[in-house]
């Protein structure tokens, strides 16, 4: 049985890693290539142009970028097989929390990664660096608002008398429990203190009970709220900031309410057991510590990092629409990835039961 299980896991890992074994190739000491698990798609093109290719030109270190999804599951399989095939991985906040709690990441040597101290404390973890940020914000179809009214908070989102009309939220407990508490009067800074008690969770679900009949759809993919806003299927919805900025520039009267938004960090980390620790540090340093490169990135992808001087490099009008802009960051709460990694399973179970009620 044990034998079978080991084999099964190796096979699972091999399947998870199959696309990469074909491309990773062989790297010798003087011909180092690091394998970086990224998101693929349009983002991969930007990463290649702004970071990977110039980095290889400057240092001689090759970068093999992979299009990956569900990286927590892939890492779990790799660790079980004892053969990590990635050197560096992008990680969402939740993926990071899972990977960190399980010890799948190498500690970061900060004097190597950021010798000039350009990154604030919020961007530095023991075993990862923050490369980007995005927010789950309240998005509003401004032309559907009652005459002369403006929606400015989650309390307004909950106020169906003043602001009638269909609404949507994400089909996840995270963000929504925080939004409910903020709508119920909890200060953004105290959200996780309240949520860490049973009473606090009950309070959030009670508040969600109020809005439940007015939510026409519980979205599961980031494209859905955008679609619903543009079709008039929902007038008010939670959504990811970058997509709403894009929707608005394309001509739909949509606006972002930063107040009470959930600021999320996304990370890059070095995978435990890599043979290219130095190269990986050099790459992460190149990726995160230059305000000029960060500004070039933020101009193309509205998910900025935290390097000092970034907003001096950006036109003010553009900076105003970004989640880590000081004005916007001040109104939001930072999503606590560790809280969610510890509690997601239990709260998701309650969430699913609550939705079916």
């Amino acid at each position: 049985m044990k034998h079978f299980k080991g084999k099964a896991l190796v096979l699972a890992a091999a399947l998870a890693a199959a696309p990469l074994t074909l491309t990773a190739g062989h790297a010798s000491a003087d011909d180092v290539t690091i394998t970086v698990a990224g998101s693929g798609g349009g983002l991969a093109k930007v990463m290649k142009m702004l970071f990977e290719d110039p980095f290889t030109k400057e240092t001689g270190i090759g970068v093999k970028a992979l299009a990956t999804t569900d990286r927590a599951s892939a890492l779990k399989a790799m660790m079980a097989a004892g053969k990590p095939t990635w050197d560096v991985s992008e990680l969402s906040a939740t993926e990071y929390a899972i990977a960190s709690a399980n010890g799948w990441l190498e500690p970061i040597n900060w004097s190597k990664l950021d010798p000039k101290n350009t990154l604030p404390a919020v961007a530095r973890a023991d075993d990862a660096v923050v490369v980007a940020s995005y927010s789950t914000i309240l998005a509003v179809r401004t032309d559907k608002l009652p005459a002369g009214k403006r929606m400015t908070s989650w309390a307004d989102f909950w106020d169906v008398k003043t602001f009638p009309g269909p609404r949507a939220l994400q089909n996840q407990p995270y963000d929504n429990l925080e939004f409910a508490l903020i709508a119920d009067g909890v200060a953004p800074a105290d959200v996780y203190t309240v949520l860490s008690t049973k009473d606090g969770v009950d309070r959030a679900f009670r508040k969600l009970d109020e809005i439940k009949p007015h939510i026409v759809s519980w979205w599961t993919a980031g494209a859905q709220p955008v679609q619903m806003l543009s079709d008039g299927e929902a007038f008010y919805t939670s959504a990811w900031n970058g997509r709403i900025t894009k929707l608005a520039t394309e001509g739909t009267p949509a606006a972002i309410v930063w107040n009470g938004g959930g600021l999320k960090l996304s990370y890059s980390a070095i995978i435990k057991g890599t043979k290219h620790g130095d190269a990986a540090h050099a790459y992460l340093s190149y990726l995160t510590t230059s305000p000029q490169r960060a500004a070039a990135f933020a101009k193309m992808v509205p998910y900025p990092g935290f390097v000092k001087g970034l907003y001096d490099e950006l036109p003010a009008e553009m900076g105003r629409h970004l989640p880590s802009h000081p004005d916007n960051a001040a109104k939001q709460f930072a999503t606590d990835a560790k809280f969610w990694a510890a509690n997601l399973s239990e709260l998701k179970e309650r969430w699913e039961a609550w939705l079916l009620e």
């Binding site: 079978f4 096979l11 569900d70 439940k212 939510i215 299927e233 998701k348 179970e349 699913e352």
Partner: protein, 279 residues
């Protein structure tokens, strides 16, 4: 015998593929659901202990049964209509039936959002005709899930029924009429029993596909229209693989159970139908 041996080599590549990419993964799923790392039924107990999971399971069953029955009731007459057409017209009609299969499920589901939405085609029509002055809620309902899934799966039902019906010698119907049966009788006592096998196969294929449906209920259903596949996906991304595997096993066993029960029942039905024909 040696000839049969030689022929069995032809099945080897398919068999190898099946073992590597189906039998082994299913084995892994069973292993993950039942051993963690020692033998445990904890994952199954968790499923049984929570009413919500059972509700999702029952909902999956209900949706699959309704969709399979709706496809049968709509698809069987269409297949019958096509098979009764002159031979030259049949391929054209079958081609039209198959066209929607070339479009991805995702695209067709989004198309239903355009049709059923608040500012969609149906509501636009209703409001222009003055039947309602407020948009009717059609999207994000269980009804939308049924409509979307039936539209997606109907071609499969029609094709299965049609291919069974083309096997039936049309002269048998003629013979029945000559022997004095009215056209309804000829259909009910000759055609229906002969095409029953195909109709059941089609219904079961649609049922099996429905049991694993994922995208359509998530995109156009309401909050209660959660399917087992949605639940499994959410558990996998939370790295609760043991529980996800247990859910997959439950889904698989339920599907197999329905399959076996339906097969036994049809055998009896076909037998009974055949028996009425003997004097």
């Amino acid at each position: 015998m040696p000839a049969a041996d030689r022929h069995s080599i032809l099945a080897a590549p398919g068999l190898l593929l099946l073992v590597t990419f189906f039998v082994v993964p299913v084995g892994i799923v069973f292993d993950q659901g039942l051993f963690d790392p020692a033998f445990t039924t904890a994952h199954f107990e968790r499923f049984l202990a929570r009413g919500a999971y059972m509700a999702v399971f029952l909902n999956t069953l209900r949706v699959s049964v309704v969709v399979a029955m709706a496809c049968l009731l709509i698809g069987y007459p269409v297949a019958y209509f096509i098979v009764r057409q002159p031979p030259r017209r049949r391929p054209v009609l079958m081609f039209l039936v198959l066209v929607p299969l070339w479009m991805s499920i995702l695209v067709r589901t989004y198309a239903w959002m355009v049709v059923l939405g608040r500012e969609g085609i149906v509501n636009g029509l209703l409001m222009t005709l003055g039947i309602t002055d407020q948009p009717v809620k059609l999207l994000f309902t269980t009804g939308a899930v049924y409509v979307g899934m039936v539209q997606i799966l109907l071609p499969i039902m029609i094709v299965t029924c049609y291919s069974a019906m083309t096997e039936i010698d049309q002269n048998l119907l003629r013979a029945a009429r000559i022997l004095g049966a009215r056209s309804g009788q000829a259909f009910a006592r000759v055609f229906l029993p002969l095409s029953l096998e195909g109709a059941v196969t089609g219904t079961l294929i649609v049922f099996i596909l429905s049991m694993g449906f994922f995208i359509t209920p998530a995109l156009i259903g309401g909050r209660r229209d959660m399917m087992m596949a949605n639940l499994i996906s959410s558990q996998v991304s939370q790295t609760n693989w043991g529980f996800a595997a247990a859910l997959a096993i439950i889904l698989l066993l339920a599907t197999v159970a329905v399959l076996v029960a339906a097969r036994l029942l049809t055998r009896r039905l076909v037998y009974a139908a055949a028996k009425t024909d003997t004097p």
